[in-house]
Amino acid sequence: MAIKGGKTWLVYGGLGLGGLAAGFPFAWMLLASFMTRGESLRRVFLPESLQWGNYLKAWQEADFGLYFENSLIIAVIQVSGTLLFSLLAAYPLARMEFRGRDTVFAGVLATLMIPETVTIVPNFLTITWLHRNMPFAWLNNWPAMTIPFMASAFSIFLLRQFMRGIPNELWDSARIDGAGHVRFLFQILLPLCRAPLLTVGMFTYIGSWNALAWPLLVTNTPDWRPISVGLQQFVSEAGAEVHLQMAGAVIATVPVLLAYFLIQREFTEGISMSGLKG
């Protein structure tokens, strides 16, 4: 909808203000990460010269190398698992006729209401039991960090919504060509679901990057602890070293923002779908 000339400045003024508020903490984080200790304590706005050494120091002091690697491995396992499981689950919910479909879908959505606070203790007990009774280790290992999060109601919901919008003719013609459900899903639907898959992947990635309470519970050595735990411990130990804290925060942020910039088009498109009924 076109707007009348006089109001343009109002629109862009408002947007600019919002953008400033959104971007300002990032600017401060970046600038402070390049300051000397004195500069960061005096809270000057611009560092005299860029202290690249802060990053090296934070990296070494916080043992970010290890945490970084852990987080990346956890993210890869968790994202691939979630994508596969959600894709498989969304397909019958969107496009197949079977008894109990609506009940299953309602049950899946109901899990959205359950907070981690309720599940954390019983899940820890379950994992401990699995740890004892399974041939491989769960605690202090990747299964405890990833498997409980490999299916999420939100992912299944988003993919189902998208799949329902795909015309039936595709399935009919695939059927004539002799394709079954598995081939149809992986050869024809999969490439079409690019945007929702990237969205689900991004959400899972962010979620795995944010996990804090659960990793603290199921690990007691740094071997499998993710970057969120590393950063939290570094910050509580670093005390007044604001410049190093900010360098640490930048380090923990970069991998997520990088992924976001790469796929932001599909991501916004996918997110936008989640609020619409259908």
Partner: protein, 379 residues
Amino acid sequence: MDTRRTEQLTAWAFLTPALVVLVGFGLFPIGYAFYVSLHKWRIKKEALIGFEHYVRALGDPQHLVFLLLGVGIVWAAYRLRSHLLERGLPSAYVYLAWGILLLPGLWVLFELGLNGLAATGDPALYNGFKVTFFYAIGTIPLQLSLATGLAYLLFKSMRAKGTFRILFFLPYVTPVIASAVVFRTIFSPHPSSLANRFWSTFGFENQRWLYESKSVVALFLQGVGMETWPTWVDSCFPSMALTSIILYNIWVYVGYDTVILLAGLSAIPRHYYEAAEMDGANGWQVFRHITLPLVSPTLFFLSMVAVIGTFKAFNHIYIMRTPGARESVDVLSVAIFDQIFEFHNAGYASAMAFVLFVAILVLTLLQNQVLGKRVFYGD
């Protein structure tokens, strides 16, 4: 015949991996949490103690009965009012009858029920509920109005739409731990912290922000020169520390809400606007009578997500809470995590968590009933 069977089996085979995870780590834990909560349970299961943990958490059961009774009376009053109004009785009498029933109901609910429970139950639980309530009231309305405004502006803007959308969305995708650490330094009590610098440009005194457990209203009274104030001024308003966390929360979620609302706005058929323009509606009228009702489902969805999110909030509060102001920012989920991590009391933590779960359930149903009716889903 056979193909139908195969079809059913295929469907369930596809669903199985996700369902195993969702049931095993999502639904089953609810029952398990309840089971754990009925036991004395530290590292291992000990004695079965029934509802003892619930009494310790919630308080004297007789007050719980009063609470439920109060809810019942209030609900009956509400039903009676709509019932009588439907039968066409004069509204003055209806409201009189309504009031006669409602006031004692509220008294039973709050005085005999809630107050009694809070006096005999676990202060950490009720404080957690109170802080969660402040947190929800402080974030959701402001966050949604800001987002609606921004989405409307984005919708109207012709250029740079994509750039702004990316920018607004950045706080949401940034790892919570990192941004919470950044806000911790912004809201530090240091005289030269960014929050204090901004604050002092208006000529105000420096604040202790995340370290301040006094309520914002008490601080305001202090600012205008009062020296003493009744205790309820401190207990009935959010603390400065919680307000700082609320600001952080708004910063994180406004962008997400904006992007979703923008999608809602873009889905409104153009001809509604054209019709309004033909009828000579002004900008505000268009917004109030066309835009707002048509995005109300989206707003409703976002408010549901936000309410549940308030109850789930943990990471950023865990990072931003300070020794001086812990109690005033500890929402229920943080209080529960303390039971797990500090006191290693799995049994009691599960009881508290179960109470939280029931609260979310009731609230979601209530929200669905009250707000859901006002949502316009079109024709």
